[in-house]
Every structure is written in structure tokens, then in C-alpha cells.
């Protein structure tokens, strides 16, 4: 007990004000850990750090008893969260991540509306890319896998939303929550059971529903983790598409999981009301949590498993080197060929393969007859390339290929910017 207090100071002192540090010291063995063995547990995070919240969530998955049910609610600062098996170069406009300090980003998008950098995080669950901010509440339910279905907690969220008057909410065939956009149909209203979480009287085949909550899962032998977003009142809906539109997408053919983009909308419900509704319906399914609703946050960095999880999620190796194999070609993909580099039949060509984020094969030709200038690229980690003029061999001065070299390096700098 005694030697835990200095450890707490050392790890938390730099971030917290003196008053907050005092508070944290009181929890140097976080009291919020006391209920980890309970049959029903409910946590809410006081932190907006996506790395910490995802690591607390993973710790709950790994340590809660096999027959327990755990609810965890958290809200992150602006961040892009990609799925376990996704490709950041394909899913994200990487140049915008540091938009406030990055000149390229200013050039591409004069104002993103976001005053601070946006974090890019690879999570441990499957599924596609989502944008988090203060108007989006993330909900997680960890439960025994034996009784698990992919819909059961999305249905719980729909019941919570409907209890607050959001009667357009339903679960769709992708296990997401959507809001139907049609006029209320009198006939279907009488035929539909209010308990049916998969249908509403507002369904209209001509009007695409707006997605408000996306699902993803992490399954272990005994446990199923289901987490989802819930878009309540994001101030960033107009800029999110810019962040999720990659300039390299037309040129990448990737293994792994590509996001399915959907039109999204805000539910326009206060975060606290949504959280209360989810807690109530979670308790309805699993019983009242022991110890009530437990607040967790930075004090959980004292837990070794959480701290290691944060370090791993923050590492560039995890974010970039876990990328499934992909090929990049200036000629586009087999499904959608393009001629990105002009010059008709003698256009320059850029082709490479990256396996787990490292270039394994490469062919960069300034003309169809010239040898590849891309040998220096082989073995390089793609995310460590800051300047493409440094990895592609420059033609000798006076060579008539000089302008083509400049064209190729500029193209690569735009498509695959420094991260």
C-alpha cells in the first residue's frame, strides 16, 4: 500500500492539477476495481482519452468473471477509430490528423472545424471505421458468449432510445441502429408490435435510414464484447466525411476489412439521458449492478494491464504495422482502373506491395523502358516515409526524366502523406 502512492504520483502527476492529484492518490488502488468480481457491473468513464477507454474496456473483457455482465459507457475526444483488420491508408485522410499544425492539411481543407489534433486508433474489435467526439456516446456490453447474439445489445439500445421518445430507431440487418426517415404509416403502426426492435412505422423504401449507431465485436472463448457508437449531437458531422476520405483509396487493393459508408445523423438527445436509458435497460436484462454505477478514469492507469494496453494502442507499430497486406498502383484497382499519372502509353508507373506495413515488392518506372527507381523502398515501413523524394532515386541532373520524377514524388506525397 505504501509504495503504491509514489508510483501513482509518478505516473499521474504530470497530467493532473495538484487538487486532482490528491484525488487520484486517494484511489492509488482504485476503489472502482473492487467490483471486478461482481455478477453485474456498470462503469462510466470520466476520461475522454480513446486509448485509455479502449484499454479499460479490454481489461474488463479479460478480467470479469465468465458468467458476469458488464456495461461500460464512455465518450472520447475527437478521434478516428479503425477496426482491428483495417488499412489506415485506405480508410483515413492521414494528412488531416494533425490539421492544426500541418500545412498540407491547411491546403487540402482550410478549416476542419476542429481545433485540436484528431487521434487515430486501431481498436481490438472487428468492423469498420468510426469517428468519435463529444457528441457520441460509446456503449459496451461484455457478457457470456453462450447466450450471445449479435443483435441483442443493439436491441437494448433501441429500447433505451425509444424510452426517450426516439420512436424511429430500429436495428437493421447489419446489427446497427438506424433512424427511419419516412412519414408515419397508419397501417403499419397498427400492425407493428411496439416491442419489435427491428421495425418502425416510419420505414420507407424510398428514403434511406440514417445510421446513428454502429456495432463491432470481440469474441473470446467464454466472453462476447459488443460495443457500439451512438451519435447524439456531434458538432462535426460536416467535417467527418473529409477525415474518412482517403486520397489513396483509388489506388489501393487491400486484404482485410473495408468500411461500408452510410449516411449518418444526430439523434438530438442529451448524452446523460441516453446513458441513463442504456443503464436502465441493461439492468432490465441482467439485473441491478452491484455497487451502482462506478466511475473510472485515469486512476485505472495504475492497473498494469490497462497501462500496457494504452502503450500498445498508442504505438505506431500497432496502428500501422498491423495493416493487412495491400497493393498500391498508380493504375488504380482491377475494378476501377485509372490513369493517375498522365502520359498515355508511356506514363510513369508506381506499384508496390506492403505486407504488415512494410514494402516487400516495388516497381517505380519513369518510362515503360526505364529501370525501377524504387529499390530503396523495399524493406521500408510505409508510415516512416516522411518525404518521398528521399526514397526514390533521383535521375542524374540534366536527365529528361527529371520532371517525371518530380511528378511521381509529388503524386506519392499527396496520396501517401507523412503521418
Amino acid at each position: 500500500m505504501i509504495f503504491r502512492i509514489p508510483a501513482c504520483r509518478a505516473s499521474l502527476g504530470i497530467r493532473l492539477s495538484p487538487a486532482a492529484r490528491l484525488h487520484a492518490r486517494c484511489y492509488s488502488t482504485p476503489a472502482s476495481l473492487n467490483h471486478l468480481n461482481a455478477k453485474v457491473q456498470s462503469y462510466t468513464s470520466t476520461s475522454s482519452d480513446p486509448y485509455l477507454n479502449l484499454s479499460i474496456e479490454h481489461h474488463l473483457l479479460q478480467t470479469s468473471p465468465p458468467d458476469s455482465a458488464v456495461l461500460f459507457l464512455y465518450t472520447n475526444r475527437p478521434s478516428i477509430i479503425i477496426g482491428r483488420n483495417q488499412n489506415p491508408w485506405l480508410e483515413v485522410n492521414l494528412a488531416l490528423l494533425n490539421a492544426t499544425s500541418n500545412q498540407t492539411a491547411h491546403h487540402v481543407l482550410p478549416s476542419t472545424g476542429l481545433s485540436s489534433p484528431v487521434d487515430l486508433v486501431r481498436r481490438r474489435s472487428g468492423g469498420g471505421t468510426v469517428f468519435h467526439d463529444s457528441g457520441n456516446v460509446n456503449w459496451t456490453v461484455i457478457s457470456p458468449s453462450a447466450a450471445f447474439t449479435r443483435d441483442k445489445h443493439a436491441e437494448m439500445v433501441v429500447r433505451a432510445l425509444r424510452s426517450h421518445g426516439i420512436s424511429r430507431a430500429r436495428v437493421n440487418e447489419r446489427h446497427d441502429v438506424v433512424l427511419d426517415q419516412g412519414q408515419k404509416s397508419a397501417s403499419s403502426a397498427t400492425n407493428l408490435s411496439p416491442e419489435d426492435t427491428h421495425a418502425t412505422p416510419y420505414q420507407d423504401p424510398a428514403l434511406r435510414p440514417l445510421k446513428v449507431s454502429g456495432s463491432a465485436y470481440k469474441l473470446t472463448r467464454a466472453r462476447a464484447l459488443h460495443h457500439g457508437t451512438c451519435l447524439l449531437n456531434s458538432p462535426n458531422l460536416n467535417v467527418i466525411p473529409h477525415y474518412l476520405h482517403s486520397p489513396a483509396k483509388p489506388f489501393i487493393t487491400a486484404r482485410g476489412v473495408e468500411s461500408v459508408s452510410s449516411p449518418v445523423g444526430n439523434i438530438l438527445l442529451e448524452n446523460e439521458k441516453f446513458e441513463d436509458g442504456v443503464r436502465e435497460h441493461f439492468a432490465g436484462m441482467y439485473g441491478e449492478p452491484e455497487g451502482g454505477v462506478i466511475e473510472v478514469g485515469e486512476d485505472w492507469l495504475e492497473v498494469e494491464g490497462v497501462r500496457k494496453g494504452v502503450d500498445e494502442l498508442k504505438s505506431l507499430e500497432w496502428t500501422y504495422l498491423q495493416t493487412p497486406q495491400f497493393t498500391f498502383s498508380s493504375r488504380g484497382t482491377a475494378d476501377a482502373p485509372v490513369d493517375r499519372l498522365p502520359g498515355d502509353h508511356d506514363a510513369p508507373l508506381v506499384e508496390f506491395t506492403a505486407r504488415y506495413g512494410v514494402v516487400t515488392q516495388c516497381n517505380v518506372q519513369l518510362t515503360p523502358d526505364s529501370p525501377s527507381i524504387g529499390d530503396g523502398l523495399i524493406g521500408k515501413r510505409l508510415h516512416e516515409i516522411a518525404d518521398w523524394t528521399e526514397v526514390l532515386a533521383q535521375p542524374e541532373s540534366g536527365s529528361h526524366h527529371g520532371s517525371r520524377w518530380a511528378q511521381v514524388t509529388e503524386y506519392l506525397q499527396r496520396a501517401l502523406p507523412r503521418v
Binding site: G83, R84, N85, R124, S125, G126, G127, G128, A146, R150, H175, S215, A216, Y217, K218, L219, T220, R221, R255, G256, V257, P324, Q325
Partner: protein, 172 residues
């Protein structure tokens, strides 16, 4: 069932030690009777075994290498597999450690090795055709081959009949 498993473990141990003295139970000695020895050994070695994690393992005829995959039951529960992360060759693992992962219907699931050893091959077919796990989970959809450190670890696993009972219990 219990006595068969015990006999199996003792038998496997005696294969490496080549000593009858270690076999405590009389039925093990019967298995080792010269007339039935070859037949009994190969029949046991080729039997596919299953874990509670829903992986299967099958030993090669020389009993040095095991082929690992996910069971048909697990493949059905996972749904359409869209990506498989394979282990790298030469990876040394202990029983129960992760040797790969699959993604299906927005779900990431780890695959655990049933036994300790060294990975000697991964099924490259799954890189381009991850759906092979759904089409042929217990044959063409194998995940990896492992140089088995201790064949006795395999004998403690469930046979097809026991695994079937295990999954029925899980579903009830």
C-alpha cells in the same frame, strides 16, 4: 471415457520413453500387445481432437506435426470469414496461446493453439480466400501446422464424440 483418456495419455508417454514401466494400468499394457500395437498406435495418432475453444488438431503419421484449424461448429457460429491473420513460421507457442485471428461479421476472434510447439507452415490459401474456413473448416480451411513439442498434450483433448456432446451442451 475417463479411463480411455487416462490410457491415452499414458500410452503417448510410453511412446516417447519406450518403457512399459511407466504404464501403470493394465489396459495400457493390453494396447501395447505386439499383435495390435501398430494398428492401435496409428488409429490413435490419426484421430482428430478438439478443444473447448473450438479448434481441432490432427497429428501426421510420424506424430511430429499437427494440423490445426477451427471446427465446423465454430465456423458456422462465426459466420462469413472475411479476413484471417496467420501465424508466422517459426513462431514458438504454448498451448492456449494465440496463433492467429479471424474476422467475421464485424467480429474479431482469436485462434488458440491446442498444443505447444513451433509453427512450421501457415495455410496461405486463407490469405486470398478467407471464406475457405466456412466452406471446408476441417479440411482445406486448416490454419497452421505445428511441430508438436509434447504429443501427450493432444491426448488430453476431446475426441469427435466428446466434442459433439460439448457443443450440444453449450447450445442447450
Amino acid at each position: 471415457m475417463a479411463s480411455a483418456a487416462v490410457a491415452g495419455r499414458a500410452f503417448a508417454r510410453s511412446l516417447t520413453s519406450q518403457s512399459f514401466a511407466r504404464c501403470a494400468r493394465p489396459q495400457v499394457l493390453r494396447l501395447r500387445a505386439p499383435a495390435s500395437r501398430t494398428f492401435a498406435a496409428s488409429a490413435r495418432a490419426f484421430e482428430k481432437k478438439y478443444t473447448e475453444d473450438h479448434e481441432w488438431i490432427e497429428l501426421s503419421s510420424d506424430k511430429k506435426t499437427g494440423t490445426i484449424g477451427v471446427s465446423a461448429y465454430a465456423a458456422k457460429a462465426l459466420g462469413d470469414v472475411v479476413y484471417v491473420e496467420l501465424p508466422s513460421v517459426d513462431l514458438e507457442v504454448s498451448a492456449g496461446e494465440s496463433i492467429g485471428a479471424v474476422e467475421s461479421v464485424k467480429s474479431a476472434s482469436d485462434i488458440m493453439t491446442p498444443v505447444s510447439g513451433k509453427i512450421v507452415e501457415a495455410n496461405a490459401v486463407l490469405e486470398d480466400k478467407p471464406g475457405t474456413i466456412n466452406q471446408s473448416p476441417e479440411d482445406e480451411g486448416w490454419l497452421a501446422k505445428i511441430e508438436v513439442a509434447d504429443a501427450a498434450e493432444i491426448e488430453g483433448l476431446m475426441d469427435a464424440e466428446a466434442y459433439s456432446a460439448f457443443t450440444e451442451q453449450a447450445d442447450s
